[in-house]
C-alpha cells in the first residue's frame, strides 16, 4: 500500500502520477475462505477491515454484486451524530463517532472528516421536550447537546431567515450537538477497502451472491455466486436494503421492510452554512458540502420499494419545508436528486445479530447507517470472530423481538 502524504504526492507529481498503485488488489476468487462478507459497502468493508485488524482473521472475501462502495454509502447525506434518545442506542453511536474521529489517520486516507456540529431547530413544545430529554440522556453516555436561544441560532446560521414570530411554526429554540460531523462518504468505503486489502482481505466486485448454502445440519457452508460456489463456515449479510432477498434463499425471514430514502443537492454556492441544520418538526435537514452544494434530506417514501430514484411527493414536502426556514432558497437551484434502498426493522432500530442459521450473521435495519459504519463494522467483526455480541451492540440482536422489547427511536430526529 502506497503511503499517502503531502510528500508522496509531490514525489509522484514528478512522474506525472504514473506510479501510484491500486487501492485494492484484484486476486482470483478462491474456493474457500474463513469468512465471507456479502456486500462491499461501508459496513461490509469496515467489518472486513476490523476482522483482519482486531481479530487477525484475514482469510476474508467481500463479495459485491456491483462496484465497491456503490450502495447506500454512495448515496447518503453524510451526517455523523450520536444524539439518540434511548440508553440502548446512545453508547453505540458514541462509539461510532469516536472511531470516525481517528479514522483518517488510522486508514492513512483523508476522509475530510469535518466536525461541524448539528443544530436542531425547534418549533413545537413537544419537540423541545423530547430534544431536551435527548440532551440529558445523551450526557449520561458522553453525547453532548447545548441549548441556544433563537438569537444565537440566527447568528450561527444567518441564512435561516424563516420561522419568525409570525410564521406558521415559529422557532422557539435550538439545540447544538457538538460532535456531529460530515465526511466524504465514498472516501470511507475506499479507505476501508484500501486498508483491508493491505491486510489480506480480498474484495471481489461484480460477484453476485445468488443463494446461501447450508450443510445437512442446517449450518451455513458458503454461497453460490455468478462466479461459482464459494465456501466458508461464517457468512455475514451486509447488504442494506436487500437483506431479505439474500436471507430468504436460506429460508430465513426477518422483521424488516425495504424502503426508498432519497436526498438532493442544490447548485454549489459560496459558503453559507457551516453546521448541519436539522428541523425535526418539519422533517428536513441539510448541510453544505465542501464543494458548496447544499445536501438536503427528508423522509422516506411510505411504500416498500427497491428503487434508487425519488418519489416526487416526498421530495416536494422536503423542498417546501426547507423553504419555510430558508425562504431565500426558492431562487436556489436543484442540481441533482437520488435515492437509496434501506431496510427498516419493525421497531426502526438496527439489527446486528447472529441468526437461527448457525454461522449466518446479519447487519441490517440501518436507517441512517452511514454514521454507524465504523461501529457497525467493529461490532459485527467482534460478533463474527467471538460468537458473542459486542457490548455496544448487544441491544441490537434479533433476540429483542422474542419478547417484543423494541428499541423505539422513531421520531427522535429526521437527520439520518
Amino acid at each position: 500500500m502506497s503511503r499517502f502524504s503531502a510528500f508522496s504526492l509531490a514525489w509522484n507529481a514528478l512522474s506525472h502520477h504514473q506510479k501510484w498503485t491500486r487501492y485494492w488488489q484484484n486476486p482470483p476468487l478462491a474456493k474457500k475462505y474463513d469468512v465471507l462478507i456479502i456486500g462491499a459497502g461501508g459496513h461490509g468493508l469496515a467489518c472486513a477491515y476490523y476482522l483482519a485488524k482486531n481479530h487477525g482473521i484475514s482469510s476474508v472475501a467481500v463479495l459485491e454484486k456491483g462496484w465497491l462502495g456503490g450502495g447506500n454509502i454512495a448515496r447518503n447525506t453524510v451526517t455523523i451524530r450520536s444524539n439518540y434518545l434511548r440508553d440502548e442506542s446512545i453508547p453505540f453511536f458514541v462509539k461510532s463517532v469516536s472511531l470516525f474521529e481517528g479514522l483518517a489517520k488510522e486508514l492513512n486516507f483523508n476522509l475530510m472528516y469535518s466536525k461541524r456540529s448539528m443544530i436542531d431547530v425547534i418549533q413545537t413544545y413537544p419537540k423541545m421536550r423530547e430534544i431536551r430529554r435527548r440532551m440529558m440522556n445523551g450526557y449520561l453516555h458522553g453525547s453532548s447537546y447545548t441549548p441556544i436561544d433563537v438569537g444565537e441560532l440566527r447568528r450561527r446560521v444567518p441564512a435561516l431567515t424563516g420561522g419568525g414570530p409570525d410564521s406558521r411554526l415559529p422557532i422557539i429554540g435550538a439545540m447544538v450537538h457538538e460532535e456531529a460531523a460530515v465526511c466524504r462518504h465514498d472516501g470511507v468505503a475506499w479507505g476501508y477497502a484500501r486498508s483491508a486489502s493491505a491486510r489480506g482481505v480480498e474484495i471481489h466486485q461484480q460477484t453476485e451472491v445468488k443463494s446461501l448454502l447450508r450443510d445437512k445440519d442446517g449450518q451455513i457452508k458458503g454461497v453460490e455466486t455468478n462466479r461459482g460456489t464459494v465456501l466458508a463456515d461464517k457468512v455475514a449479510v451486509v447488504v442494506s436494503g436487500h437483506t431479505t432477498t439474500i436471507t430468504e434463499t436460506a429460508g430465513l425471514s426477518l422483521p424488516v421492510k425495504s424502503f426508498n430514502l432519497a436526498a438532493f443537492v442544490s447548485e454549489p454556492v459560496k459558503p453559507l452554512i457551516d453546521v448541519i441544520v436539522n428541523c425535526p418538526d418539519l422533517g428536513v435537514y441539510l448541510n453544505q458540502s465542501d464543494k458548496g452544494e447544499l445536501v438536503i434530506g427528508g423522509a422516506p417514501d411510505a411504500g416498500q420499494s427497491f428503487r434508487r430514484d425519488m418519489k416526487q411527493s416526498v421530495f416536494e414536502d422536503a423542498v417546501v419545508t426547507m423553504l419555510e426556514l430558508f425562504p431565500a432558497f426558492r431562487r436556489l437551484k436543484l442540481l441533482r436528486q437520488w435515492g437509496g434502498v434501506l431496510d427498516i426493522a419493525h421497531d426502526a432500530s438496527p439489527i446486528i445479530s447472529a441468526t437461527d442459521i448457525s454461522g449466518l450473521f446479519v447487519s441490517c435495519g440501518w436507517w441512517g447507517g452511514f454514521k454507524a459504519v465504523p461501529a457497525g463494522g467493529y461490532t459485527l467483526a467482534h460478533l463474527i470472530a467471538t460468537g458473542q455480541p459486542h457490548q455496544a451492540a448487544a441491544p441490537f440482536t434479533l433476540d429483542r423481538f422474542h419478547h417484543l422489547d423494541f428499541i423505539v427511536e422513531s421520531g427522535t430526529t429526521t437527520a439520518r
Binding site: 422483521p255 424488516v256 411504500g303 416498500q304 427497491f306 419493525h346
Partner: protein, 84 residues
C-alpha cells in the same frame, strides 16, 4: 408519483392515498404460540417484485383497497391479476 386505481373513484393521483403496507395474513386466533404471533406481527413480506398491499383513499372516498405493486418498477396490477 403514481396514479392508483381506486375501486370507486377510478385512477387518482397517489397523493390522495395512504399506503398502509403489505397485506398481512389473517389475524391469528388467540390459541397460536407466542412465536407464531410475533411472526405475524413483525415479519412482513418484502419481495423484489409484486407486493400485495393495502391503500387507503384517505382524501377521496375513504375506501381501503388491495393492489399489487411492483417494488422495482412500481407498476400496479389488480390483486387477481397474474403476478408473473
Amino acid at each position: 408519483m403514481l396514479t392508483l386505481p381506486c375501486p370507486f373513484c377510478g385512477q387518482r393521483d397517489e397523493t390522495e392515498f395512504l399506503n398502509t403496507g403489505p397485506t398481512k395474513p389473517a389475524r391469528p386466533s388467540s390459541d397460536v404460540t407466542d412465536s407464531e404471533w410475533i411472526n405475524w406481527l413483525t415479519v412482513p413480506v418484502n419481495p423484489v417484485g409484486y407486493v400485495e398491499e393495502k391503500w387507503w383513499h384517505v382524501k377521496g372516498c375513504g375506501k381501503y383497497f388491495t393492489i399489487k405493486r411492483h417494488t422495482v418498477t412500481h407498476q400496479i396490477k389488480m390483486p387477481d391479476e397474474d403476478s408473473a
